[in-house]
């Protein structure tokens, strides 16, 4: 059960465009809203209105500053959720068989009826994509909104993960990476989609599109005129005469 499938028929996952993400956290909020009332136990909060609030989230947005060799630093907002790895270490460590990777679409899921809350899968994940829910005592993780994407009872436009549906910037894309002609495969090919922590050997399905390089500060601050003209020339002369 906790063995990984040799290959999956589809490889569903996300492309996250770091060039487009504005860091608004709408994906975080909509993810929590949908998944706290959908698949499995709710995403609980502890001390939500108190001095030390914390809670379970399946998606979080970090913000980083990148400093190139020369020129100005640039800010990158960085949403992070389960990458549905092909070689998912969280699945094979599971002692109860609660964690599994689906053969049909490659989604990594937790069967909460089997989870004993040991937390070893969260330790095995290099990305911090799994969080133990303190109220339910079971491991929570991104399901790629499995209760949306195959759901015939909602309009077709809504049959994508909640984070993708809500992103106002269009920075998140959902599709099948096994199909080279899919929207996500073409985006990855065109924009140089990359893996996070490739040295960990997890072969993530989700890909990140790198941000464009910003122009240099010197180019932006080039002087527009060496000598003042018109009114400015008159002020220059008048002040000089004082």
């Amino acid at each position: 059960m906790t063995g990984l499938p040799d290959r999956t028929e589809a490889k569903l996952g996300l492309v996250i465009d770091l060039d487009t993400c504005v860091g608004c956290h709408a994906c975080v909020v909509n993810c929590k809203e949908w998944n706290t009332s959908g698949h499995g136990a709710p995403l609980s909060d502890q001390d939500p209105y108190g001095a030390d609030p914390s809670g379970t989230f399946l998606n979080r947005v970090h913000s980083f500053e990148v400093q190139p060799e020369s020129g100005c630093a640039q800010v990158t907002h960085f949403p992070k959720s389960c990458l549905h790895c092909e070689d998912a270490p969280c699945v094979t460590v599971c002692p109860t068989g609660a964690s599994y990777k689906r053969t049909e679409d490659g989604i990594v899921l937790v069967d909460e009826g089997d989870c004993m809350g040991c937390g070893l899968c969260a330790w095995a994940c290099p990305y911090g994509a799994r969080e133990l829910d303190l109220a339910a005592g079971v491991m929570k993780k991104c399901t790629l909104c499995i209760d949306r994407i195959y759901n015939d009872n909602i309009p077709e436009v809504d049959r994508v993960p909640a984070c993708v549906r809500t992103c106002p910037a269009g920075a998140r894309h959902f599709g099948d990476f096994a199909d080279p002609e899919s929207n996500v495969s073409r985006l990855v090919a065109a924009r140089g989609g990359m893996d996070l922590m490739p040295e960990q050997g997890t072969r993530p399905v989700n890909k990140y599109l790198p941000p464009r390089l910003k122009g240099s500060v010197e180019a932006q601050l080039e002087p527009v005129a060496e000598e003042p003209k018109g009114l400015l020339a008159w002020i220059d002369r008048a002040l000089g005469a004082l």
């Binding site: 770091l18 992070k80 002692p95 969260a122 330790w123 911090g128």
Partner: protein, 300 residues
């Protein structure tokens, strides 16, 4: 990693217990009657007590029995299966030694005891592999981790089994393995190659630092995997752990005549040192996911 008391007590005491049961399985010491009862009672109490402590680590213990099912892939599951097998196989050896008139003449005791010893040490190996397998925790992800757990079990087991001179030598071996594990462990994070640049994929642009974390407060990830120990305290604790766990027991066992008074000092010293070393084992282990929170490896 968060040094939770449940996992520290679990790994430390189950290791000691299975180490003792391994020696008892091999007939070291060759005991019978009430003396055998006392030895096996201590072995079982430590092994079972340690395993029970691990249950306190579970957030949903009602599903714990399912942990025996995934032995094909999971070291945690293998540990569960092997521990139960070891406890069951050693049981007839314990009963035989306690109840038989002349246990030395019972031919079956030898082979069954050997099997029990192998299963006991196998359990300790599985415990070690739970940590060793985690590539996301580079300090644990090395061959010295199972060597450390096994030498801990053998040295502690020999001490509890009253194998005075052997225990003394094994304490020195344990000390050497422990020092090697600390030195090698200190370089493992850098060797594994994960940095904020590889974690974010932004390395080709430049140097990365965290500008804003995703949340202002703590969360499960930080509580569980963001633990950092102060450098100067860690070094002091290493000396204390090494002195109590290995050096003092080794001196007592090798330089003084054997006796129960010796054990009264050597055993508490070894156990206190072991707990300190095991605390450090968890507290000093850095998880790569903390890089997303701007927390690189602590310098030692």
């Amino acid at each position: 990693m968060h040094p939770a008391p449940s996992v520290i007590f679990f790994t430390a005491f189950s290791g000691l217990g299975f180490g003792l049961l391994a020696f008892l399985g091999l007939g070291m010491p060759d005991v019978s009657g009430w003396v055998a009862f006392a030895f096996f009672f201590i072995g079982y109490a430590l092994a079972v007590g340690g395993l029970l402590a691990s249950v306190f680590h579970l957030a949903n213990p009602k599903n714990a029995v399912k942990a025996f099912s995934q032995w094909r892939t999971s070291w945690l599951s293998r540990e569960g299966v092997l521990s139960v097998a070891a406890l069951l196989i050693v049981a007839p050896v314990a009963l035989g030694r306690m109840l038989l008139e002349a246990p030395g003449q019972a031919l079956w005791l030898g082979p069954v005891g050997w099997l029990g010893a192998v299963l006991s040490l196998g359990t300790v190996l599985c415990t070690a592999m739970i940590y060793t397998q985690l590539r996301a925790v580079p300090r644990w992800n090395m061959r010295l981790t199972p060597a450390l757990f096994l030498s801990n079990a053998l040295a502690g087991g020999a001490l509890l089994a009253g194998q005075v001179r052997l225990a003394g030598v094994l304490m020195l071996v344990l000390g050497a393995v422990q020092i090697a594990a600390w030195i090698k462990g200190d370089t493992r994070f850098a060797e594994a190659g994960s940095t904020m640049e590889t974690a974010t994929g932004l390395g080709p642009i430049g140097r990365v630092r965290l500008l804003e974390p995703p949340h202002a407060g703590e969360n499960y990830l930080l509580r569980e995997m963001g633990f950092r120990v102060a450098r100067k305290h860690a070094l002091k604790l290493r000396w204390i752990a090494l002195g109590l766990m290995c050096a003092l027991p080794a001196v007592l066992l090798l330089a003084f005549p054997a006796g129960h008074a010796l054990a009264l000092v050597a055993v508490p010293s070894h156990v206190a040192g072991l707990l300190a070393a095991r605390w450090l084992f968890f507290a000093q282990a850095e998880h790569v996911q903390a890089l997303y929170y701007g927390r690189g490896p602590a310098k030692v």
